[in-house]
């Protein structure tokens, strides 16, 4: 450690964005989080509906994802070509996405096209044509993407890990479905899904940019106000990831083995979440000082990339990491990873590691708020995770509050069994 810097206090990095977030509610009862900012003449909007691929009918897996590709394929008075031409004439960025738990979208527009941009979003959400021609085309694109990944080692390792971990559960299914299920999805399936999910009760919205609250609320009501009041969501049961202690080898003719490893992690609303985040950061977070980076990459040159992370589904928590090492040394890589996991589980982090992790996690929080789109994305995520509008202010104190004892317990809780579900794609030696 050098003495020529002042450690950042947890307060200074994140004060600014939070002070500027307003929660406003429209006449039709839609809550929006707004950051008003006139520096750049643009506006970024992000929204999500709870209810992504986990809401697909099992034999129709991929319905939600297919819908996300169809909303800009013509809507209202515009056929597909006219809709896309208008998007380009407005230089509008409009896209829709689908994850396991959420169906979402982002819009970015120049402020001079603000009203027209909201109108395009309104049409996409309320009056999408979803005609058979578009369905066939988007299906072909999805199948092509599935093919592209079918023998990609990273995709294969991740897919196998999910399947074993979440066997029999909706989270074990690919978000995009598979060849068979995508093929069977009909227009009626898509419309049914849309009518169940696009509603006001499960909607979260955030806006950042050059707009005041009253103008925004008017536009929010015309865009989202005519959606059904209540979504019809099926319950997604909680599931504990399975398969710990299993190693699954998937042969593929590549010179390097991709190794994915992991086990159960905390849910986002678990009281242990922050302690577990600190532990994960120390083990395999995205800094050059993380243990796995130092031991696997820097000291031994075993891999270019090695990391771990906590993934929080709404109904499952996962600890998962990955690396890629030449086949001859794949066993060695996994051994080094397991040694580090065992050591952290048994001994907990050193006090220096804990202090440094907290400094990084608190100091870097502001970096998530440096563009309009990133701020809007953060605000929707905070809403999706039910953390409250004061979370931006609370968050760094929660990191600071993790005690050495909590960190040690969290390390044991997260990593203590030493049993991992491991999937390996390649021709690994020593397995």
């Amino acid at each position: 450690m050098s003495s020529n810097f002042t450690p950042s206090s947890h307060a200074d990095a994140s004060v600014k964005p939070s002070n500027r977030v307003q929660s406003i509610v429209s006449a039709k009862g839609i809550e929006v989080w707004l950051v008003e900012d006139y520096t750049v003449p643009l506006l970024a909007l992000e929204f999500s509906f709870q209810g992504g691929a986990a809401q697909d009918e099992p034999e129709k897996a991929g319905t939600s994802n297919l819908l996300s590709g169809l909303l800009d394929e013509g809507a209202g008075p515009y056929d597909s070509d006219a809709f896309q031409s208008r998007v380009e004439d407005l230089a509008l960025d409009l896209s829709f996405n689908c994850g396991a738990d959420f169906f979402g979208g982002t819009m970015r527009t120049l402020i001079k096209h603000r009203d027209a941009a909201f109108d395009m979003l309104r049409l996409a959400l309320n009056e999408a044509l979803i005609n058979q021609n578009s369905i066939d085309r988007v299906k072909a694109q999805i199948i092509s993407g599935l093919k592209h990944e079918e023998k990609d080692p990273n995709s294969m390792a991740a897919k196998a890990w999910r399947q074993i971990s979440f066997q029999g559960h909706v989270y074990g299914r690919p978000v995009r479905g598979n060849y068979e299920t995508v093929d069977t999805i009909t227009r009626e399936d898509i419309l049914l899904f849309q009518s169940r999910i696009f509603a006001r009760s499960n909607l979260k919205v955030a806006v950042v940019g050059a707009i005041n609250a009253s103008d925004l609320l008017r536009l929010i009501d015309t865009t989202f106000g005519n959606l059904a009041e209540k979504a019809q969501l099926i319950n997604v049961p909680f599931i504990a990831p399975a398969g710990q202690g299993t190693t699954k080898i998937i042969p593929l003719d590549v010179p390097q083995s991709v190794i994915q490893f992991g086990s159960a992690g905390p849910l986002r609303n678990s009281p242990d979440f922050m302690s577990a985040s600190v532990i994960n950061h120390i083990l395999g977070g995205g800094v050059f000082s993380a243990r796995l980076f130092k031991e696997v990459r820097e000291k031994r040159g075993l891999a270019y990339s090695v990391y771990s992370s906590l993934n929080c589904y709404r109904s499952a928590g996962v600890f998962v990491g990955a690396t890629a090492t030449k086949n001859e040394r794949a066993r060695e890589s996994l051994d080094v990873i397991q040694e580090q996991i065992a050591d952290l589980a048994q001994n907990g982090p050193t006090s220096e590691e804990l202090i440094n992790a907290k400094k990084y996690l608190t100091g870097s929080y502001a970096l998530r708020f440096d563009t309009s789109s990133k701020i809007a994305g953060q605000l929707v995520q905070i809403q999706n995770e039910d953390l409250g509008i004061d979370y931006i202010d609370r968050r760094n104190s929660e990191v600071e509050a993790v005690t050495p004892e909590q960190a040690k317990n969290a390390a044991f809780e997260l990593l203590g069994s030493g049993k991992l579900l491991v999937t390996v794609v390649g021709q690994p030696e020593g397995f």
């Binding site: 450690m1 050098s2 810097f5 002042t6 450690p7 950042s8 200074d12 990095a13 964005p17 900012d37 520096t39 750049v40 003449p41 643009l42 970024a44 070509d81 896309q84 031409s85 380009e88 004439d89 230089a91 120049l110 085309r137 072909a140 694109q141 199948i143 092509s144 093919k147 592209h148 079918e150 023998k151 990609d152 080692p153 003719d253 590549v254 010179p255 390097q256 991709v258 800094v287 050059f288 000082s289 990459r297 031994r300 040159g301 075993l302 270019y304 890629a324 030449k326 440094n356 400094k359 990084y360 100091g363 870097s364 502001a366 970096l367 708020f369 440096d370 563009t371 309009s372 789109s373």
Partner: protein
């Protein structure tokens, strides 16, 4: 679009030069109390000595191994403790290092970055495992991916004489032989203040940056002569060349076509601007010519597009690609794609279509102002490839001035399949 203000006017840009020749650009963005600090060196993989491919990239890795003053790990540990993010990247023409950090720590970053501009030390025990890391990076990015291997081969075929045909990461057999002395030789030659550009974007004032830069980078003496980038030039292509990659890991075939084109630094007239507009018209959106013809109308492809490497020191690639639908051969897709190009080379595009493409390109300039890191990259790339700061400000007007005839002219002149490299990615039978 003519009623718009020039897009550069909303962002304050200041530039100056230190006595030792270091060029400095400050991009102000006061919305969030963070700063992006980047140092760009005007050398990349195309400056690797013959037989030492990959040395620019290998040195980029080794720059994290410590200096006389700050031993290995100290810089990265401090970046992490200050809540910063750091990384580096190597391109064909430049190598850059950056940190994103709370603004009050800018001076610390400058002090460490200036230190490693001059004080790097390398030991065998650091160099050897890092060479393995680079080999693993190559295995990951290229050797496990038939598509990436095809790309590598297309570039090697398009550039028969110019170093852009050599992969940035290097050829495997040459990476294996790179050593400590190679890295230090290269470092001494290129890592000098007169070969570097400092870019600071974020919640900073130009005066503060200048003062901090003088206290840190300003202490580094001149090396007198800026290193010269003397490169062999690519001769005019005369033949159509074809490469194909057949592999059992390919489930989805792909068609690609690469053309040799001029870039902003060397283009005559407004050829580079016209190529940018052409690229947008041809494959930049769902209403582009390729998409409308091949995906929507003829239903031959699931996806198509193109990219143009417009910021490069020498002649570079314009790449077009298409993913065929089930039952469509790559030959059929190629033929249909050639017809689209030929149409653009023969007839003027309607005014509305031209305006639509320009609108998107100019809007992207405004969107870029929302992201300090993007802005820093735009200025870094521009300056490191021989264009000026003024050219960034002038770009929207230059794009606006592109006519339908300009687009037709560059399509006819450069997108000629008879002198292109065509690549096919194929599934093993």
């Amino acid at each position: 679009m003519s009623q718009n203000q020039p897009v550069s006017s909303t962002t304050a840009i200041t530039d100056y030069e230190l006595e030792n020749g270091l060029q400095i650009v400050v991009i102000e963005d006061h919305r969030t109390p963070v700063a992006t600090h980047m140092v760009w060196y005007k050398n990349g993989s195309a400056d690797d000595p013959q037989g030492k491919s990959g040395i620019a990239h290998f040195l980029e890795h080794l720059m994290f191994k410590g200096t006389k003053t700050h031993p290995k790990g100290e810089f990265s540990n401090i970046v992490a403790e200050l809540g910063g993010q750091e990384n580096a990247f190597t391109s064909v023409d430049y190598t850059a290092y950056y940190q994103r950090i709370a603004k009050e720590h800018l001076g610390t970053m400058m002090s460490f970055e200036a230190d490693r501009m001059i004080n790097l030390i390398l030991s065998e025990e650091d160099v050897n495992p890092e060479r393995e890391v680079v080999l693993e990076e190559r295995l990951m990015r290229t050797d496990s991916d038939p598509g990436a291997q095809l790309q590598e081969s297309i570039a090697a075929t398009l550039f028969t004489h110019h170093p852009y045909g050599t992969p940035i990461i290097g050829w495997e057999h040459e990476i294996r032989d790179l050593n400590r002395e190679d890295a230090l030789d290269y470092y001494t030659r290129f890592y000098t203040p007169e070969n570097a550009i400092l870019i600071v974007a974020g919640d900073v004032s130009p005066e503060d940056v200048k003062r901090l830069a003088q206290e840190t980078y300003g202490k580094i003496p001149r090396h007198n002569l800026a290193p010269q980038r003397v490169r062999t030039l690519e001769p005019a292509p005369r033949t159509a060349r074809r490469v194909s990659m057949t592999d059992e890991k390919v489930e989805q075939p792909v068609f690609q076509q690469a053309f040799l084109v001029p870039t902003y630094r060397i283009a005559k007239g407004n050829d580079a601007e016209a190529l940018d507009v052409l690229c947008q018209l041809l494959g930049g959106s769902s209403v582009s010519r390729l998409y409308k013809t091949l995906v929507i109308e003829k239903e031959m492809a699931t996806n198509v597009g193109c990219w143009y490497m417009s910021t490069a020191l020498d002649q570079a690639q314009f790449m077009l690609y298409g993913v065929p639908r089930e039952g469509i051969t790559l030959e059929a897709l190629e033929q249909a794609s050639n017809a689209v190009i030929s149409e653009l080379a023969s007839n003027l595009v309607p005014e509305a279509e031209l305006e639509r493409a320009k609108t998107r390109l100019m809007a992207d300039v405004i969107y870029a102002q929302d992201n300090q890191t993007s802005l820093a990259r735009i200025y870094g790339t521009t300056l490191a490839t021989g264009s000026s700061i003024e050219s960034v400000a002038q770009w929207p007007q230059m794009i606006e001035a592109v006519t339908s005839e300009d687009v037709r002219r560059v399509a006819a002149k450069y997108l000629n399949p008879q002198i292109a490299v065509t690549g096919h990615l194929l599934k093993a039978a």
